[in-house]
Symmetry: C2
Subunit: 356 residues, 2 copies
DNA sequence: GCGGTTTCTGTAAGCGGTTACAAGACCGCG
DNA sequence: CGCGGTCTTGTAACCGCTTACAGAAACCGC
């Protein structure tokens, strides 16, 4: 090796289009980088004179700290990863809205990752070092597979999907919600209820179905199940069938609102009176539910609150981890969110005088 | 200084809850960190034997590269910042959906930042070093202020707001859309149209209003403007007024669908026939528009496509910047998205036999 | 005027990767 | 067997920032 290396050159006059670094500020202000850092982070003792010199230099250079570098040395990114299934409709805007509300009060950003049908879970790994924790919602996936792909040691909260050990989770009490809807339909006089379920592989769908079946049994009414896909189209098909008499029923309970609305529209198109001839209820209580005519009875979840809660819980776990409770007894922390029934026109029957 | 410092200790046996680093992998595999890096990044020549040793060590330790460190040394984060006004409803889920679609095919993540009413723009600065570029949508803000807060040298695309110099922008041709709606109402026989505008400070609102006024003038019909707030409530108020005759009108053109729906519901409640007595049209064509009864005529924008386009344009700018075109002549690149009218029941009038 | 504090400020070692550069391994050939 | 060239691999210098630690400066009472 040549004894004198080619002289590192002080370099970087912050010209070009590039950004000024903390070194540029230090040089211009005639102080050390440590001092600049102190000025920007407050806490430490810095003399007023130096503070103003640094601030002036920074302003002059248009210096903005580099979040990436900062997060690397502080081992804290200030962002949380949100992993969601393919986004559709109001459910997701509400969820994100709630998450954002909570995250922004804590000074956290939201890094969105959508699990598209095909590839997907590998992207989870990529998140290490880019986020402080993860909120994962993947009702369509096998929990074991998800667990396997989780970056180890990263705080996580699971939302509305099968619980993982060692991680907190937030679940919707689908059974209770579905049961409430079916009980309500039965109380309104329905005798033959058709349950339009979600896809068989989906956990929410399974639980809602179970709740519906339990309530039907308890109320002594018959319940037949038709599998749908959570989209308007499958609701329409069932609506047509009921209207045509192919399926004999006096009430439809759909596992989500979009299917309920599809059914409702189909019934209307076919001239079937709702709720007089067939009552309809959905699940989720999307904003649209109260706007369709007749307004749709639905099982409501405060989606935004759920999102906010998930973020709050994650923040707590992150804090705990930072304070040394490594994979300690901090787990558990499973919460179930109990939905409530919102009764509207599609079930306002008084066929038996027992309607609510 | 003591001549022998306290011996740095090789440390970090990847135990604890922490993650294994590239050094751990190197140590276990008995190679240098450079080699591990090479194995993980493919490109370079590495002998098969070493590759497998490294891969085994990595698998054994559950090693996952640290995105933060990686982005620091490569000066590329793999994420783009999305800055949006307060999220509401389907518009945003569609927008995000489109952005995500485009971003994920390019291997980019989406870092969401919502500009809440009060504080806000300072958060933009925080993004430096955390994202490779920014898609900014801030129709409610003064462009000059936004420009001032932009981290210098960061690629950006502005969405549906006043153009910034040096940055690309994507705009909705609000004038054309509003004009089409008003022209359609006039063609259907409307003589006195009330335009329910958005908040005065909002650029979209201003442009839609201008388009409506121009079209009304061209068609020789009277147009009176009432300022709303883009939410259902203000639509309801105007609906009530029209029903009560406080405002005399035979057609309502609202600057967005939620207000149109609010008006529509109010009219229905008051027993005013739509479209026979009063026609109604909205703007945005949210999914809800076709589901209300009667179905709402609206000006449609392919929101998801717009989001996708914004991301694509940003990706192009980022690539350009990386290739040395620093704030070069690459600017301009302004695109306008022309919306189209979707005619539905609320304007299917044939009062004059001229209805569409 | 000097040791003992207390308060600043600078030096340098990380954080976890990438990568230019040079050194070593290996090969074919005269 | 020595030599130039091609592959592999290791060393170490960054990327931009934080922070433990130590040195300098200022202040104090004697």
């Amino acid at each position: 090796m040549s004894p004198a290396r080619p002289d590192p050159v002080p370099v970087a006059p912050a010209a070009r289009g590039a950004h000024a670094t903390i070194h540029d500020v230090a040089r211009v202000a005639g102080v050390s980088v440590a001092s600049v850092s102190r000025v920007f982070n407050g806490r430490d003792h810095v003399r007023a004179a130096m503070r103003t010199r640094v601030e002036e230099a920074a302003a002059q250079l248009g210096y903005v700290p580099h979040a990436g570098a900062r997060s690397l040395s502080m081992a804290r990114t200030g962002a949380i990863g949100v992993v969601l299934p393919d986004l559709h409709g109001e459910f997701f805007s509400e969820l994100l809205r709630g998450m954002d509300r909570e995250a922004s009060t804590r000074g956290l950003g939201l890094l969105l990752t959508v699990l598209h049908d095909g590839r997907g879970l590998d992207t989870l790994a990529v998140l290490r070092g880019q986020v402080d924790g993860l909120v994962v919602m993947a009702p369509q996936l096998d929990p074991a597979v998800v667990a396997q792909h989780m970056p180890r040691g990263l705080a996580a909260v699971f939302l509305a999907c099968a619980p993982q050990d060692g991680s907190a989770s937030l679940r919707i009490d689908n059974r209770a919600g579905a049961a409430a809807a079916v009980a309500h339909l039965a109380a309104g006089g329905a005798k033959r209820i058709v349950h339009l379920s979600g896809p068989a592989g989906n956990l929410d769908a399974q639980e809602r179905r179970a709740g519906a079946e339990a309530a039907a049994a308890a109320a002594g009414v018959t319940l037949c199940v038709v599998e749908g896909d959570f989209r308007e189209g499958s609701g329409a098909v069932v609506g047509e069938c009921v209207a045509a008499g192919t399926i004999e029923a006096d009430a439809i309970f759909a596992a989500n609102d979009m299917m309920a609305i599809g059914a409702l529209m189909a019934l209307k198109r076919q001239g079937v009176a709702v709720p007089e001839q067939v009552a309809v209820a959905g699940f989720d209580d999307i904003p649209l539910a109260r706007l369709v005519t007749p307004a749709l009875t639905s099982v409501a979840i405060d989606i935004a609150a759920m999102g906010a809660r998930a973020v709050a819980q994650l923040a707590a776990r992150i804090a705990a981890a930072r304070n040394g409770f490594w994979e300690g007894a901090t787990d558990g922390a499973d919460e179930a969110i109990v939905p409530h029934l919102v009764v509207r026109e599609t079930t306002m029957i008084s066929r038996q005088g027992t309607g609510l």
